[in-house]
């Protein structure tokens, strides 16, 4: 396992070396977001704004529209929740190229409980015009995403990271491409679409399914917006069944994005011959609670077993 936050913090320092327009902002969470690494190296380009998230978002827009490359980091609830309107007005509406990198998203926040377990952020950010949304699957991808954002100057972007370390999915040869979904395992019976921690879980689910003679295709949707329609539709055109898995409400997040894509494109467009069943794995219209990250993942069914069961339900609906 490796920490996404640490990968982020280290990548920021590298960006700071490469480009003096990179500036970093946080709201009293320098240590928790690992932006303290940047602060130590480049104190004159680091701004700890105290607990003023609304202020921070609008201020970052002012920096961005003055030619700076601001990276703003705080917990997901305080990035995509509390200052949502400032993100809408000052950042998204103005296409201010602010890079919002939120940590502590999802259930794996753990013991702090529901107040800090942001399960609605993909929804909140995805709905905003001009806003791109990225959810890296592990520390390797996180580092590449942060590097890719150095020159992401046309649009603002929201990146979702977690508190808990995630199992490593990728080796160093992996290349993140903005806007591209990556097929990590080929299959022909069912497509497993996942983001974040659920990418690893889905790969494990595919192994469980293989034992049952089911061939699952696993796709990493690290760019949730803009969604890679081509890859999503062509996979489901081949398999005829889909599962989404995310550490987020099933409403509004990856599950919704894939459902929208399939409803509009299968059948009929892009050569898709038939409607295909979809099962969504995620948090179902509930808040989280205290517990360890592992316990919570288990409790809410975001496990390889949970994903495999959803795949089997989808296959039954397909009439296999």
């Amino acid at each position: 396992k490796a920490s996404l936050r640490k990968a982020f913090g280290e990548a920021l320092v590298e960006l700071g070396e490469e480009d003096e327009q990179v500036v970093v902002l946080t709201a009293d969470l320098a240590g928790s977001t690992n932006t303290d690494l940047f602060a130590k190296r480049f104190p004159e380009r680091f701004f700890n704004l105290g607990i003023t998230e609304a202020n921070m978002m609008a201020l970052a827009a002012g920096l961005a529209l003055s030619g700076k490359k601001p990276f703003v980091s705080t917990f997901a609830i305080f990035a995509a929740g509390k200052p949502w309107e400032q993100v809408r007005q000052a950042i998204a509406y103005q296409s201010a190229p602010v890079r919002i990198v939120a940590t502590h998203a999802g259930l794996t926040v753990g013991e702090d409980g529901a107040s800090h377990q942001m399960l609605e952020d993909i929804n909140n950010m995805r709905v905003l015009p001009n806003m791109d949304v990225i959810v890296p699957a592990d520390a390797v991808e996180t580092k590449q995403v942060i590097h890719a954002l150095k020159d992401h100057d046309a649009n603002p972007v929201y990146v979702r990271l977690a508190r808990a370390p995630f199992p490593i999915v990728f080796d160093d040869d992996y290349r993140f491409e903005f806007g591209k979904a990556k097929v990590l395992r080929q299959g022909k019976d069912v497509s497993l679409f996942a983001c974040g921690l659920m990418v690893y879980q889905s790969l494990k689910a595919a192994e469980l399914l293989a034992r049952e003679g089911i061939s699952a295709e696993v796709i990493n949707i690290s760019t949730i917006k803009p969604l890679d329609l081509e890859t999503v539709v062509s996979s489901v055109t081949k398999t005829g069944a889909a599962v989404t898995a995310e550490e987020h409400q099933v409403v509004g997040g990856l599950g919704s994005a894939v459902a929208e894509a399939l409803a509009e494109h299968c059948p009929g467009r892009r050569g898709a011959p038939r409607a295909s069943p979809l099962e969504r794995v995620g948090v179902r219209d509930q808040f989280g609670q205290s517990g360890s990250a592992d316990e919570l993942i288990e409790y809410y069914g975001l496990t390889p077993e949970g994903i495999a069961q959803a795949a089997i339900r989808a296959l039954k609906r397909k009439g296999r």
Binding site: G50, A61, S66, G67
Partner: protein
């Protein structure tokens, strides 16, 4: 030009701009004339005497920035920008129409030349202005950031977050202008959510605070001159303005926060404004 003549010219300009404001809102049959008319004098002095900018090059990196955080008062800003040649005057008469350049609230998304910030939602602009001021410090550019806020905007918590920030980072390239007209949509500010003692609040937040009669040109000019000299901290000019100034039936009446004049009211308003400044 001696001071009296200069003031006379500025005053005439302010009344010309006021006529544009009334005509814009009349033709659009919606908008916010009250605050715009009240701020006309102080914003005329700011834009015609102090702000360094080039209408032919709105993106000039060293230009002074003007952020209209109380975005609903944009008719006065649009009138100024058109008069200075940022866009054709004809655009004023298409305000608020579908496909028009001039949106109901200032918009950078619609690329209105001279507009620096998309306002409309209150309380956000001062933070944005802090960002621009901070960028100026980082880049060692000597531009100044002027930010207009309304009195009722000081009910927004974010305004005070920005106030803390500007003081913390010693943003002495930031000058706020506070439109103190004591009115908000639902009534007088002190009845809706009391703000006084307002100057004391800004002083307590570490801002160099000036208070002026926003229709007295000598006071306006000397406040800007003094504010521009102060170093090491942000500055605010609390400008006591009369909502609807120049149009008798609008003056001091919070109901003209927004609303369009009837044909008769329009005729009267234009007559009165001509009598003052024509």
């Amino acid at each position: 030009m001696d001071m009296d003549k200069e003031i006379e010219a500025l005053k005439r300009k302010a009344y010309q701009l006021r006529r544009d404001v009334v005509e814009m809102v009349y033709k659009a049959q919606s908008g916010h004339p009250g605050g715009a008319l009240g701020m006309a004098d102080v914003l005329t002095v700011l834009h015609y005497k102090f702000i360094r900018a080039d209408p032919r090059n709105p993106a000039w990196p060293d230009r002074d920035r003007f952020i209209l955080s109380n975005g609903h008062t944009c008719p006065i800003l649009y009138a100024i920008l058109a008069d200075k040649g940022y866009f054709p005057r004809e655009e004023l008469w298409r305000l608020r129409r579908l496909g028009a350049l001039l949106q109901g609230h200032p918009s950078t998304a619609h690329k209105i030349p001279g507009v620096e910030f998309s306002s409309g939602s209150l309380g956000i602009g001062l933070s944005f202005a802090c960002g621009m001021a901070l960028a100026g410090k980082l880049d060692k550019r000597d531009y100044r950031v002027f930010c207009s806020i309304s009195d009722a905007e000081c009910q927004e918590g974010q305004t005070w977050e920005a106030a803390l920030t500007a003081h913390h980072y010693k943003l002495d390239n930031l000058i706020a202008i506070l439109d103190r007209n004591n009115c908000q949509i639902d009534g007088p500010t002190e009845r809706i959510m009391a703000l006084e003692p307002l100057a004391e609040k800004w002083r307590a937040f570490g801002w160099e605070t000036f208070e002026i009669d926003g229709h007295d040109y000598e006071q306006i000019i000397s406040a800007f001159e003094a504010a521009l000299k102060v170093q090491g901290k942000p500055k605010i000019i609390i400008s006591h303005n009369l909502l609807g100034k120049g149009v008798s039936f609008m003056e001091g009446d919070h109901r003209w926060h927004h609303g369009a004049p009837s044909p008769e009211q329009f005729e009267q308003a234009m007559r009165e404004l001509e009598a003052y400044g024509g």
